[in-house]
Symmetry: D2
Subunit: 303 residues, 4 copies
């Protein structure tokens, strides 16, 4: 058994006995139903080998992790023009805060807080039908994972739509500032479906390979763009817990309220961790801890 395989198993076993599983996101009813005592780690290394432990074949709602992929798509479509509509700075606020949107006149601080991600989706949606935009997003992620068995969970999308008042507030505020090309309903319809993508940890680790930049792994974006996506994951990937994650774990990563985290070790590995219970910043409690332990054991800091 390789060092990595053993490390993954060790971490998973250690964490499974820790009684604090955090709190499952309550504001999306469909997600609140998820059994909290689940944990998965999946790693794809530079040579293409996959290692996994725990519930790595259980599908979960990837939620905000899709923001990494939609950002890659939007930059592919409009390039640096996108930065006229959204910034690149950590927000210093909760993921769904509307305060900064008013203070910065409708330009979200970065593409990974909700307001910024809504703008990114709005950009992808520009000039075509929601179903076409969603098809491109799903297709991009399937291609990245080399796996066509990745789908949108309509029940989750419906649940988010029904309880998405905060996101509607953000979208209408963006519209009132002239920073939305489509109607709030249209953009959010696409956004909620995108967030409702369901993947297993194994699939997510596969989908993240294009960010690793290793000779044997697929490339979907230019090296400069891959590095920049990782830079944003590092500074903004965990909302108002980004600084802490960088300090403790030291690798670029993006979390979702479904409890998943996609982390990239440049040149070395794509990692997906998943456990549904969240910490106070809205990031997976055990997922964060799994990455911290694995990174320490494998000496996988970028610093």
């Amino acid at each position: 058994m390789s060092i990595l395989a053993r490390a993954i198993n060790d971490v998973a076993n250690r964490l499974r006995v820790d009684p604090d599983w955090g709190d499952v996101a309550a504001y999306i009813p469909e997600l609140a139903l998820v059994e909290p005592h689940q944990l998965a780690i999946a790693v794809v290394t530079a040579d293409g080998t996959t290692y996994a432990a725990g519930d790595a074949d259980t599908p979960f709602s990837v939620q905000s992790i899709t923001k990494v992929f939609t950002l890659a798509i939007a930059l592919g479509r409009v390039g640096d023009q996108l930065w006229g509509r959204v910034g690149r700075e950590p927000s210093g606020r909760a993921f769904n805060s509307i305060v900064q949107l008013e203070q910065e006149n409708g330009r979200p601080r970065n593409p990974f807080i909700n307001a910024g991600a809504i703008v990114v989706t709005d950009e992808i949606l520009s000039g075509r039908a929601p179903r076409d935009a969603l098809a491109e997003i799903v297709q991009f992620i399937r291609a990245a994972a080399e796996d066509d068995d990745i789908h949108i969970d309509d029940a989750v999308a419906a649940s988010e739509t029904a309880h998405g008042h905060r996101n509607f507030a953000l979208a209408h505020f963006l519209a009132s500032c002239g920073n939305l090309k489509n109607t709030p309903d249209r953009t959010l319809g696409t956004y909620f479906h995108q967030c409702a993508l369901t993947m297993t940890a194994r699939q997510l680790a596969m989908a993240g390979r294009f960010l690793v930049e290793a000779p044997d792994l697929p490339r979907l974006v230019s090296p400069v763009r891959a590095r920049r996506l990782k830079a944003l994951m590092m500074t903004c990937g965990h909302y108002d817990g980004s600084g802490d994650f960088a300090y403790r774990v030291g690798i670029p990563a993006k979390s979702g309220v479904g409890g998943g985290i996609l982390a990239i070790v440049p040149g070395k590995a794509s990692i997906a961790a998943w456990s549904p219970g969240l910490n106070r910043y809205g990031n997976s409690l055990k997922g964060t801890e799994a990455l911290a332990q694995l990174a320490r054991q494998m000496e996988w800091s970028v610093f």
Copy 2:
């Protein structure tokens, strides 16, 4: 000619030659079409006599001035329970700010900023159809003015609905905090129609009589409630220009972005001033000035 009649004419004549008419509200397209060079003053005194000058018979959109009437209606329906949903403090922010709504967890600072007025309308709407709620609002104002020729301008309501993203953001935010009993669409539909009420300065001065509390004028609410409504008009009636208005004019008043202001001299008079151009706080430029000059000339401060 009485002292008051002469004062009103003097003020109107002086202001009409001043070349700065302010800027007509641009964010509601239908209001932006209003001819700016208009000015009206109408006063109903304690004995019931009406005095008027300028365009006192030209209808205009009363907009936020309706918030005084809807607040009276809502307090009549649920009494002090209303204050669980909305505060009584000046906001220190623009009329449409969403920042404080996040800071105060969805409880608007007072019933005269947009968020607070939406809550008041939502309360009136509770348990019945929008048309019935609107009928009560219109009926209350017609009864107050003793004039059935007061109507809602559907074109203005439609224009506000089409360009009301900021209000939709506020309503969805309220909903996300559990402080909306109806759907945002339903409450805002009622709210936009209420704001689109059209009245002349003469009608508005008549409608304000119940707040004067004079033996010969009609009473629609208890004396305590009338005083409290005037207290709120004093501290919160001009958004973030309320302190300045109290300092310069010294009587309780409520402004609307259509350029109207309803001011009350307790025990003495109900005044309506109107001129469509606004100052930087969103209050009528010449309307404010007319009230300042008239109050000074008539010694009508409450202080």
Copy 3:
């Protein structure tokens, strides 16, 4: 016994049995030593008669109530120029908040929050020695009260200086924005001494007579200025509880953390209420209640 005398006694007796005395201000150690179970009401009516109940001859620290007098002095010295340095709007924040000072580039929202009062004192201090500025302040208040037995409590001033970090932060911030003419130490030295003025409720009610504007009461400022001071007391006199005080009590007033409140019934009376325990806004709990009951009983609302 007159109606007013009976009303004052009734209110005082009722309130003395209520077991909730609020919390004495803890952040100034010298004030924290004050026995909380004290209550005083003193009223001077338009004919110059004084009515009092409770501990009306016990001296207490008037603290922020001096801001009314220093504002009158500063306006007398520089007139409306003062408003270039300080605004006239309610703050929507706590009395010692520094947030708005940064948002408004060092121009305090109004002269009754700490930052604004520091600017007013700084203006009075401009071009002369602290002792001369303090002498003018004390002399003004003695003249207003027609009582030379009004003094500064040096122990309270020393206690505030030693524990006044928040005020030092405000003063240095003002200096960093170029809105302080003297050094922070010099201005705050004067400010802390001014706040440490000690008066009885009877003396305070006497000192407030010039704001009543009655033929038999002394006048120290012009009628326009007196009205404007009262307008500011109404909109800003109770920090972030000003709207609530206007709603419940309906007369202009200014509170201090020593538990005193000076309230003015225009044309009718100057009232001082005192009880050391504070409510959550930092205003006297029983003092506010005393004024609310007295105003209701005497029908003393300005509205």
Copy 4:
């Protein structure tokens, strides 16, 4: 000539002809006197070789770059206890903002904004004389640079003290929240002297070697701590321009208002760039650009 030597020269030559030199910091008078048309780049590689171009032997005021060294010292003294007094998150605000300090009850967001660095210095100062604390700071930096010719510029320290009202505001605010162990004067005296350290780009690159973690370079802190210091430099090293720097340059770095930047390529190099003119975030305009170009040319991103 090596590839690196050529790259450094190319970058320096290209930047020297660009006419936009930014604006020298104006709020510290002594720094405002610095000739703006200066540029230096110095690099120490993993094998200990130094490469330099431009004004690499001209001393400049390192200012906030000292915060990296004082953080290392403070962590050495009290370890993770330090994080009870200061956070690890990007601030989303200007370097000298006081807003967040109020919102977070006196716990600065991170150790690299002014408020946080004042807390770090206060911790180092705890229990001993300012001269001893300063001696340790200077000694640490001299040891890191293996160069005793590094000194504090008293004229700069005096200039900052005389014009440091904003920092005094921060320190007094911290004290008012109980988050200062020494008096504001004492802590700021030490802080201003620490910031007034003068170094050449060559010396600064030498001093940064301990963060590189290469076998031939000196180590002053544990590997885990070195990585964590770099993580904080990445997420918080450029104030509200940190996200942009990570995106464009992709290596951990810390800037100072004197126009210097210390950047670390883990395992490979310590870089000092210097040019006095600043961009709108308060970071060296040409220094940032030099690092961006050099990092791109040498493929020195951590991502």
